[in-house]
Symmetry: C2
Subunit: 373 residues, 2 copies
């Protein structure tokens, strides 16, 4: 999924952060941490230190050091246990100490949800740029689900911190071991923690990251905010902008959500509204929405993106904020081509999550059903 | 518990390791890892590199760096997943790198079980001395149960490794957080891991460690080995040597042992033999034997030491090697005075482990019962 314009955002200020928070919640497919909390923390940091420069990947020198910074854990926990500023800068301090050099830019590991914005806190505090790129082009629940892992880059050293002052440095042999160790630590740290992983060079960013995804999130947010003034349907505008598909219009009638294994897991059931009355959609999630079905038939499935939008405002709804009775439109978007490779589908496809379906690209599923709703 | 002689062991060779393995299994109160595996690995290392010098704490300069090295996890797992040499030296490498200086001596964190000997592997490999001291004077299941914690010393930095090549560095805010984080990591690492914690100075060792406990283990082993030649009863000789008490003579008739939460937990029931026919003893353990009762009455309780000895040979039996039908004598010894302070009892007394009894020193319990069996 790419933006259709050549515009590149160059600064993160209060307004761009507002837009990105909304766009990142769409790209976050329900997860990636609460965008509202990430936004408030980022705005607070910008008010204190001024706007943060947003650096384009092509500005990087090949041997520059770029470090992704994010929160790991269950979004349900992060809603209640807000990270501290010290907790956001500590993994950065630890990784700089371990690598013996300074970071050129901080990047979000995922453009989804709050994780698109929490790095801004550390960037503002330290006066270093944010990179306009991420390693998912969306949000995913597990830490090996990054393009850096698909491309065989080293995830270590990995650094973590909690809000109490505990710090961790991991040398994991691969991204799957990182996930096992970091997840277990996160659970002990109370269900959420800050983390730096996959420190990369400028050359590696150019080869492996997904570029300009913060600009993309900004543009999505701008579309949703401006559609009201322009008196256009926000969801239609968004689908047009992103080559997306409306999957279902419905009302949440059953939500089962549990915090387990360091994740927010569950499923939600929607009864059709309007022309779709009498139909039922099920949505399965592990932090992120991963599978949408109707009568056992797949509407969209990971690694393609599934998001829930408020039927009236088009504003995205996260897994942990979805409420009984919410009237929503489920939408789907094609994922970045890196996720459609054999390795991409193995790492983040439906079978990894235990869903008994092969990966079928959303365009094919939509064509089979006779196109969009 | 102190040795009654002024002899100090100065070298770890094949024979002293044989003796220490047996003595440490007595002091290990059933836990501390399998002494047989620790012994075999230590002997292998000594054959390859020659004897290891055993350093007395009073030889240390105040600013020397001493690092405890041990295995953490469930003894049942360590029986099957033998640590590698690289795994034993890696936490040492990581902690030297973090502290930016070389280690003067390695010490066992506990004199109990295999953990009294696994540091010999790294000491032999690196050509550095072992310290004749530990931080428990016995074995305990949790990592904050050390005299260093009682004395408020910093447990961090902590370093860990598994046999696959994963390495971890923790900055835990205190020993209880170390235990939470390190235990969770150990479980992910397959149930056992190597660890360095509480790096201490020579001055801190002199203030806080329990001195000459490897010499003590050596002397216990020597007593048990030599009693056969001397045609004396090994258990009687041992009790005399250590001011200990025989608690019960019996046969194991029920053993419930489960690996949970990174520990070997359970209880064993013994039916009396000989003069104690018709009586029943229960022994409760979490890696170590922690509580012995008869008809609900306490015979001995943590932090005092409870060990199981083979009735014929006097050889110690660990929790994970106790078998149905084993004929044993349960013995008890007074713990080091540091464990009898209010803080010591709070950290490693019966109520911490959830047993509904206050701590009563074994001398008082024995006096109440009219002395030894």
């Amino acid at each position: 999924m790419t933006t259709n314009t050549t515009f590149k955002l160059t600064e993160l200020n209060e307004q761009s952060v507002q837009y990105i928070a909304v766009g990142a919640a769409v790209l976050g497919t329900g997860g990636g941490g609460d965008p509202h909390i990430g936004k408030l923390m980022a705005i607070e940091a910008i008010r204190k230190h001024g706007p943060v420069r947003l650096m384009s990947p092509d500005e990087l020198k090949d041997d520059d050091l770029v470090v992704p910074l994010s929160m790991i854990g269950a979004p349900t926990v992060m809603n209640e246990k807000i990270p501290s500023i010290a907790q956001m800068t500590k993994p950065l301090d630890l990784i700089e100490k371990e690598l013996g050099r300074k970071v050129t830019a901080i990047m979000p590991i995922e453009v989804g949800g709050g994780n698109s914005l929490v790095p801004v806190i550390a960037a503002a505090e330290r006066g270093i740029p944010m990179l306009d790129a991420d390693a998912m082009g969306r949000a995913f629940p597990e830490s090996q689900m990054v393009t850096f892992y698909l491309d065989g880059l080293d995830c270590s050293p990995i650094t973590m911190a909690d809000e109490r002052g505990n710090g961790v440095l991991l040398h994991a042999i691969d991204g799957v071991w990182e996930e096992r160790l970091a997840r277990a630590i996160t659970i002990q740290m109370g269900g959420s923690a800050s983390i730096c992983d996959y420190p990369v060079t400028g050359a590696q960013v150019k080869q492996s990251a997904i570029a300009h995804t913060l600009t993309l999130a900004y543009e999505i947010g701008k579309t949703l905010y401006e559609s009201k003034e322009l008196k256009q349907n926000p969801i239609e505008a968004l689908l047009k902008q992103l080559d997306g598909y409306a999957l279902f219009h419905g009302k949440a009638v059953d939500i089962r959500r549990r915090t387990e294994g360091g994740f927010t897991r569950g499923e939600a059931v929607f009864e059709g509204t309007g022309e779709q009355k009498g139909r039922t959609m099920k949505l399965f999630f592990q932090n992120e929405f991963l599978l949408a079905t109707e009568d056992g038939e797949v509407l969209a499935v990971t690694p393609d993106l599934i998001s829930l939008l408020d039927q009236d405002t088009g504003m995205p709804i996260t897994t942990e904020n979805l409420k009984y009775g919410a009237r929503v439109t489920a939408v789907g978007f094609p994922c970045d081509p890196k996720w459609r490779t054999a390795k991409g589908v193995e790492v983040a496809g439906p079978q990894y999550f235990g869903y008994d379906t092969p990966y079928i690209p959303i365009e094919q599923l939509a064509a089979k059903k006779g196109g969009d709703l």
